[in-house]
């Protein structure tokens, strides 16, 4: 409690103080901006170095590429396999993930809900190579009886034409395993958008006598639709690039086939790189990098589209 009787001092300088640009400020602003720009450079660097190392394969005569029919013929079956596995994963995972997100946000007891969300997120933390181990040791054998049944009763469909694989290391197994891996990504984003659905809409629906499902259908799902789509595309991006789980589980022999349960399957780009790269030299390496470049371009496009969809929703979400 010190009270001074002296009158308040007048400002020291009559002119208005100019904001000083201190050295520390300039250094700090420069470093942080530099770090941000570095990220842009890294992304550009990824593209540039991949192109520079893939270039020899792009310009090489068709006969020198493995398979002897040129780069396009080499990458096409791999691309087909990549897309097939990712699409299976997406078809299995999306409905499941949406249902899980709905369960956690609107059905589960409130006290348990965050714990349940955490458990689902743990699925995302498990390394991909461990998924591969699980896929080949537990999932594939468990699916073998189903493949036998499917061959017998659903064999008229091209997907289940057979002959059914005895080991279960099929495209469908790989797709289901990928579905488990992308499930937490889709469900995390769906959960977020579902929980942001405007409370007023939800309560209005309930107040008008809607059942819980009708409330979700009328107030939550329309609001969360683009979030679910964006989440599914992020999952698709992850599934496209998944490497070792597929390399371990899928018994690949190349070629293009829609037969999901036989033991000869098309390989995926990423798994093919992982399998071939350690033993490759010379132009083979360049060819593999060229296929990696194709994968990079595809995942980049999918991710950009997904982020655009997700961000567009954020711009005019009623919750903010």
């Amino acid at each position: 409690m010190t009270t001074t009787s002296a009158p308040p001092q007048a400002p020291r300088s009559p002119e208005a103080p100019r904001p000083k640009r201190r050295l520390g400020d300039r250094v700090f602003a420069g470093t942080t901006t530099g770090a941000g720009v570095l990220i842009l450079l890294v992304l550009a660097g990824v593209a540039i170095f991949l192109i520079s190392e893939a270039w020899p394969a792009i310009v090489a005569p068709a006969g020198d590429i493995p398979g002897g029919k040129g780069l396009t013929a080499y990458i096409a079956p791999l691309l087909f396999g990549t897309l097939l596995a990712a699409v299976i994963a997406l078809l299995v995972a999306t409905p499941l993930a949406v249902a899980i997100a709905l369960y956690i946000t609107y059905y589960a007891p409130r006290r348990l809900a965050s714990g349940m969300g955490y458990v689902i997120d743990l699925l995302a933390a498990i390394p991909s190579v461990v998924y591969g181990f699980w896929g080949i040791a537990a999932l594939a054998p468990a699916l073998v009886p189903f493949y036998g049944w499917a061959e017998k009763h659903l064999g008229f469909l091209p997907f289940f034409a057979g002959p059914a694989s005895a080991t279960g290391r099929t495209m469908l197994t790989a797709g289901i395993m990928l579905a488990v891996m992308i499930l937490p990504i889709i469900s995390a984003i769906s959960r977020e958008v579902f929980s942001q659905a405007p409370a007023l809409h939800r309560e209005a629906a309930l107040a008008l006598g809607a059942t819980r499902w009708e409330m979700i259908r009328m107030a939550v799902l329309p609001y969360g639709k683009s979030g679910v789509i964006g989440g599914a595309m992020l999952g698709l991006g992850r599934a496209l690039g998944e490497t070792l789980a597929i390399a371990i589980v899928l018994s690949a022999s190349g070629g293009i086939t829609f037969n999901l349960i036989s033991s000869s399957n098309p390989n995926t780009i990423a798994a093919n790189i992982a399998l071939q790269f350690p033993e490759s030299t010379g132009l083979d390496v360049n060819t593999l990098i060229a296929s990696g470049l194709a994968l990079f371009v595809i995942t980049l496009a999918v991710n950009m589209l997904a982020r655009w969809v997700v961000n567009r929703r954020a711009d005019f979400s009623g919750a903010n």
Binding site: T33, A35, F133, W213, I273, F277, L288, I289, N303
Partner: protein
């Protein structure tokens, strides 16, 4: 908080107050009872047709759901019945998602515990054929490479997050935010190819070094650090910054003395989770670092062993007799899971016990 605690007239019992009479065509336990009855019928059905756990569960769930739907439809009407149908479908979906998690943990535990012994942590694979051997070299290699990755990624990631939150404006900020988001989706194998292509330009093809793996992992880790620490920094109340400015503290000292200490728990959580994300990455290490049997801890000198790659090769190229290598592979997978889970738990604990009181 009353707004979010709305009672649901569809399923929850409303409190009968005064003269309002609750009309409840079915007692509360009737539907659960019906579900159990239907499920029991399913189990009996599968027992009659030859018992099989998967089929029994399948029949039980389907018949239980059908029993509830039919009963509810005949007594309560179609709208409510459909609501109950969805409830049961959604709950089943959650249970289905638990199956792989439980199965995975069980598989890895039951097969990995066999070799979880002292030898596994103390010896390398140098000169080991068949029984014995361990993953000392791989565990150390993973620690070295992960540490280098963290040393590269954490400063860049944190500084970028600071830029986005404290300094960034206009187009550059929007572009960086967008591209960081896109970068989180780069396939791990492409990151590995990038590091390989980068080093192959300078050292020629066939180069394998620990530092290459660290750079590949950094490409994967930086965006994760940026995204999560950006979220944390955004949570620091603006009042704190403004109070510091009002006291005449320069901006950079405000950031160092006010913003970062307030957010430090969240930042630690973000970094821990990012490390957990890259510690199990296999594909980039497979093509940039390779594998050796001996212990090499110098990241600038040739191949190194890492735990995920070790596990992969022990499983896929076990040699003869295969069983010993396969056991080692499962133990390595178990250690990986333990490592990742431990990092996740640590991250949770940090954020729970050291979080600042933001008054929200």
């Amino acid at each position: 908080m009353t707004a979010t605690r709305s009672a649901d007239p569809g399923t929850a019992p409303g409190r009968a107050t005064g003269l309002v009479e609750q009309h409840r065509p079915l007692p509360r336990v009737a539907l659960s009872g019906l579900y159990v009855l239907g499920a029991l019928a399913g189990v009996v059905l599968s027992a009659v047709t030859g018992f099989n756990v998967v089929l029994a569960v399948l029949y039980a769930v389907v018949l239980g759901t059908v029993a509830v739907y039919v009963a509810s439809r005949s007594v309560e009407g179609s709208r409510k019945a459909f609501d109950r149908l969805v409830t049961s479908v959604v709950t089943t979906a959650f249970a289905v998602a638990m199956v792989p998690l439980v199965s995975l943990v069980w598989t890895v535990l039951s097969r990995g515990l066999k070799r979880l012994d002292a030898e596994f942590f103390t010896s390398s694979m140098l000169g080991v054929v068949g029984e014995g051997g361990g993953a000392y070299h791989a565990i150390m290699g993973t620690l070295v490479i992960t540490a280098i990755t963290a040393v590269i990624s954490v400063p860049i990631g944190l500084l970028t997050a600071l830029y986005l939150v404290e300094y960034g404006t206009g187009r550059l900020k929007r572009w960086i935010t967008f591209l960081v988001d896109v970068m989180t989706g780069i396939p791990s194998i492409v990151a590995g190819l990038f590091a390989f292509a980068l080093f192959a330009l300078f050292f020629g093809p066939g180069v394998r070094m620990g530092i290459m793996g660290a750079i590949a992992l950094s490409v994967l880790m930086i965006p994760v650090v940026v995204r999560s620490s950006e979220e944390v920094l955004k949570l620091v109340p603006n009042e704190l910054r403004e109070a510091a400015y009002a006291l005449g503290v320069p901006k950079w000292r405000t950031i160092i003395k006010v913003v970062i200490p307030t957010a430090i728990a969240g930042l630690a959580t973000a970094v821990t989770l990012a490390i957990a994300r890259v510690v199990g990455e296999t594909a980039p290490l497979l093509i940039t670092v390779g594998i050796i049997n001996g212990t090499n801890l110098d990241p600038f000198d040739g191949r190194m062993a890492t735990l995920p790659v070790f596990a992969y090769y022990q499983l896929t190229q076990p040699g003869f007799p295969p069983q010993y290598a396969i056991d080692r592979a499962w133990t390595a997978a178990l250690i990986l899971i333990i490592l990742v889970m431990a990092l996740n738990v640590v991250a949770r604990l940090i954020s729970r016990f050291f979080a600042p009181k933001t008054g929200r």
